[in-house]
């Protein structure tokens, strides 16, 4: 159980550090897999039901295989270079990752004072995943990496939910899963379009739409 959580945390650290897109995708896939099997370990096996099994299978299937496959395709289809160009270097990223880990553990400790939590380690991992997901989204250039970041963020949210022991009925869980899947799927499709339109998938060169360009000709109205 704790091992799983640690593994999740490690995957995040690895993601922050890795410079190769393909590897990152694989890593996210692995994360999805871990997340899929996580429920069985959370607070014993008291709720291993058919529903739960279906749920975890679905999540493994989607996050562990389908989405990564899609993303990999996107990667190959787009002639984009396979490296990640970060705004913040890998070393720095990993260091800040460690810092984030510390922060999340700190927060969890604080939370434990107010409420009893399923498993704090998992919660730490969850928070850490959320943070690192945001971190990836903010500091990575490529549209693809942003997708990955989003995926990590989502996983983090899942982990948090699990570890907080707040489970809803299966339908809600499934619905959430479906939403995420469709979301990532759409992102994947758009990746192709981006590739076609811009012949690069650098999200930070997406700034045609901004309010920087502007001319003050209109305030002649005042001065007349």
């Amino acid at each position: 159980m704790n091992t799983l959580a640690t593994l999740l945390a490690l995957t995040c650290l690895f993601l922050l550090g890795s410079s190769r897109l393909l590897v990152s995708i694989r890593m996210v896939a692995f994360q999805g897999f871990l997340l899929g099997i996580l429920p069985f370990f959370v607070s014993g096996s008291d709720h291993v039901g058919v529903a739960a099994i279906i749920l975890s299978l679905a999540s493994i299937g989607l996050k562990g295989f389908l989405l990564p496959k899609l993303l990999t395709r996107a990667l190959f289809e787009s002639g984009a270079r396979r490296e990640i160009e970060p705004f913040i270097g890998f070393g720095a990223s990993m260091l800040s990752g460690v810092a984030l880990l510390a922060v999340s553990s700190y927060i969890v400790n604080r939370l434990e004072t107010t409420a009893q939590i399923g498993s704090s380690i998992t919660l730490i991992a969850g928070f850490f995943m959320v943070f690192s997901g945001l971190f990836l989204l903010i500091t990575r250039r490529k549209a693809l990496t942003q997708t990955l970041g989003f995926l990590v963020l989502e996983n983090g949210v899942f982990a948090t939910g699990l570890s907080l022991g707040s489970e809803f009925s299966v339908f809600v869980e499934l619905g959430i899963l479906l939403d995420v899947f469709v979301g990532i799927f759409l992102m994947g499709i758009m990746l192709f379009h981006i590739d076609r339109e811009f012949d690069h998938i650098d999200a930070d060169r997406f700034n045609e739409l901004s309010d920087l360009a502007f001319d003050a000709s209109e305030d002649e109205e005042v001065s007349e």
């Binding site: 903010i138 930070d204 901004s210 920087l212 305030d219």
Partner: protein, 662 residues
């Protein structure tokens, strides 16, 4: 009351009809103007009834989204309805008559004109903050569209822009005001406002909010900047309505709020008096420096606003000092002046319209000698000028006389403040009056007298008979007010009483001091006698003693052989000496090169004075705000990951600020 509402409905529906039939000019003109005229005629009756036979509080209740709202017609509303009901139909006649000779499309003109009229009439009967604000805003919007009616002219658009922004700022103040009153009285009904127990400073805040909000419409000193341009670029009849009726709605609001607030503080009076003084002086200096006929008239209406403000302030002070007679006199003066100003402004703006129509220009430099070409307009304009400059025997003098008397009476109080007040009022009125004489002597003289300056080729038209009707009606009204002023005092005192009884606890009886009656009668008699004598003398001279007189000589010009129209004094040069003295207030642009050398080639002098406050206060201010806000636009730089950063940071800040107490 029913009649009144019917009138509003009629006017409004006429406007809509005009909008529908706008393609056919004559039909839409008939619909718009006709409904405006008939509506006003209908509305006159209830107003007269209320004014002369005491209050008739017919209260109607409407079901508005923000709760019940009542409307009712009382003496004060009735009084302020008079200028509206006088000017609206006449302006309708005027522009209806003129528009027949125009090519410019009348799209929406009548709709907004009637909307303006209806909104003003509704505003006057509003006894509820929401309806008041509603009518107020509709009024402003209609005015905006009327000002920008000639929207192909860029300056007209910017005039409209200024007006709309200014009036919106004013409305913001009014919204706070009514929110405040509503909050402290628990209702938006005016009747309830009176019962709201405001603390000293709250009521002061309320008053100054009102002064600000309504001051914009009235055109008090710093808030007048929209006025000159708007009145200039609106059509003449519209300007007449705006200046004579709409801007008076500001005074209506101010007095109405004054009625609802608890006993006034001396500070209010001081602000009003000093503000009025500065407004009046500023306006007159600015008017002298203008080279555009309508701008001059616009500034003059600002000046009269100043005078009225001073009178109201005097009355407020007198209320504080428990001097009902003075308070009453000052208030009566203010009210009468509002009436007179409406009439004179009507005449002047109509006159300017006629001149513009006849000569095709508004530039004073291009006019002169029009009295020969358009004698009718000249006579009307002369009478109006004399009246607005407050010269006897005209109505303008009567009201100024009453205000003066109030001021003199204040001076008799053994109270340093009172003496100071009297000094400001008398000195101020005298100075403003003197400058007004200068302004209108200049205006009339340069437009209608002397040798013509316009190019000889252009044909000058005198107004058509139909257009003369409003002029004649207004002049008759002028005469009526002058002659009947002793009898008008009673209803005016009634209005003043209604305004003040709620305040300082005066009973109407306190106001009926015969301070005014006898002097006014004397003044009227003497001035009429004078008028008759002058005319008599002139006629006798003309009929009996004019043998051998000859008028075929050139003007004496130091023996210069070939005098020429271009040699006569221009408007710029006329006002130069005066403007130079007050150059603190008005800084005219001076164009033209000096005369130099023994045989100077070519020299010219032209001065043009844009509003100083606009130039030195508001434009820099707006520019400053603009420049301050500009850099912030960099926030929207278009980089997605930083956008996500915003989200994350917001989240972090919130958590740190609200939850995690480290």
């Amino acid at each position: 009351m029913q009649q009144y509402l019917i009138a509003i409905a009629l006017i409004m529906s006429g406007g809509i009809l005009a909008l529908i039939t706008r393609k056919n000019r004559s039909v839409s003109t008939i619909a718009g103007a006709g409904s405006a005229i008939f509506g006003s005629l209908i509305a006159i009756f209830p107003v007269i009834k209320v004014l002369f036979y005491g209050n008739s509080f017919a209260v109607f209740t409407l079901n508005m989204p923000l709760g019940e709202a009542t409307i009712g017609l009382d003496v004060v509303s009735a009084f302020f309805a008079v200028p509206v009901l006088v000017l609206v139909p006449l302006a309708a006649i005027f522009s209806g008559a003129v528009s027949r000779h125009e090519k410019h499309s009348a799209d929406g003109y009548w709709f907004f004109f009637n909307t303006l009229a209806a909104a003003m009439l509704l505003l006057l009967v509003a006894a509820n903050a929401i309806i008041f604000l509603l009518a107020w805003e509709i009024m402003s919007v209609a005015a905006f569209f009327l000002i920008t009616h000639r929207d192909e002219i860029a300056t007209a658009r910017s005039a409209g822009w200024k007006f709309f922004v200014a009036s919106h700022i004013g409305t913001a103040a009014l919204m706070i005001l009514f929110a405040l009153l509503g909050a402290s009285s628990g209702s938006l009904e005016f009747a309830q406002f009176a019962t709201a127990h405001l603390t000293e400073e709250l009521s002061s805040i309320a008053f100054f909010l009102a002064l600000f909000g309504f001051g914009v419409k009235v055109g008090l000193l710093p808030l007048h900047v929209w006025m000159p341009d708007s009145y200039t670029f609106a059509d003449a009849p519209v300007s007449a309505v705006l200046s004579g009726a709409m801007s008076k709605m500001g005074f209506y609001g101010l007095l109405r709020i004054l009625m609802l607030l608890p006993a006034p503080a001396a500070s209010w009076g001081w602000v009003l008096v000093v503000g009025g003084l500065l407004t009046g002086i500023y306006a007159m200096i600015a008017a002298l420096a203008q080279s555009d006929l309508k701008k001059v008239i616009a500034y003059s209406s600002m000046e009269n606003a100043g005078i009225i403000c001073m009178a109201i302030g005097c009355s407020v002070m007198a209320m504080c000092w428990k001097q009902p007679v003075i308070a009453g006199a000052a208030m009566v003066g203010a009210l009468l002046h509002i009436l007179n100003h409406a009439i004179c402004k009507g005449l002047l703006f109509f006159g300017s319209g006629a001149v513009y129509w006849g000569t095709g220009t508004r530039k004073l430099e291009m006019m002169g000698g029009l009295a020969r070409r358009m004698p009718f307009t000249a006579v009307c304009f002369a009478l109006a000028s004399a009246a607005i400059a407050g010269l006897p025997p005209f109505n303008g003098f009567i009201s100024e006389f009453i205000i003066f008397v109030a001021g003199l009476q204040t001076a008799t109080l053994k109270n340093p403040q009172a003496l100071l007040l009297a000094t400001i009022i008398l000195g101020g009125l005298a100075l403003i009056g003197g400058l007004a004489v200068a302004t209108f002597a200049r205006t009339f003289g340069l437009v209608f007298l002397g040798a013509p300056r316009h190019d000889k080729k252009r044909e000058i038209y005198e107004v058509t008979p139909l257009v003369r009707v409003p002029f004649i009606i207004l002049i008759v009204l002028m005469g009526l007010i002058t002659v009947a002023s002793p009898w008008l005092l009673k209803p005016l005192l009634a209005v003043a009483g209604a305004l003040m009884t709620s305040q300082a606890g005066f009973s109407a009886a306190d106001l009926q001091g015969n301070l005014l009656q006898q002097p006014v009668i004397m003044v009227v008699q003497l001035s009429l006698a004078l008028l008759i004598l002058v005319i008599l003398g002139w006629q006798i001279r003309r009929r009996l003693f004019s043998r051998g007189d000859r008028s075929d000589r050139l003007t004496w010009d130091c023996g210069y052989a070939e005098p020429d129209a271009r040699m006569q004094y221009t408007s710029s040069s006329f006002s130069q000496t005066i403007v130079d003295i007050f150059s603190v207030i008005v800084r005219p642009y001076r164009h033209g090169e000096k005369v130099s050398g023994l045989f100077p080639r070519h020299a010219s002098y032209r001065s043009d004075a844009p509003d100083s406050l606009l130039r030195y206060l508001f434009l820099p201010l707006f520019g400053l705000i603009d420049r301050a806000l500009l850099p912030l636009r960099a926030l929207q730089h278009g980089r997605l990951h930083l956008y996500i950063g915003y989200v994350a940071i917001t989240l972090l800040i919130l958590l740190l600020w609200k939850v995690v107490v480290i």
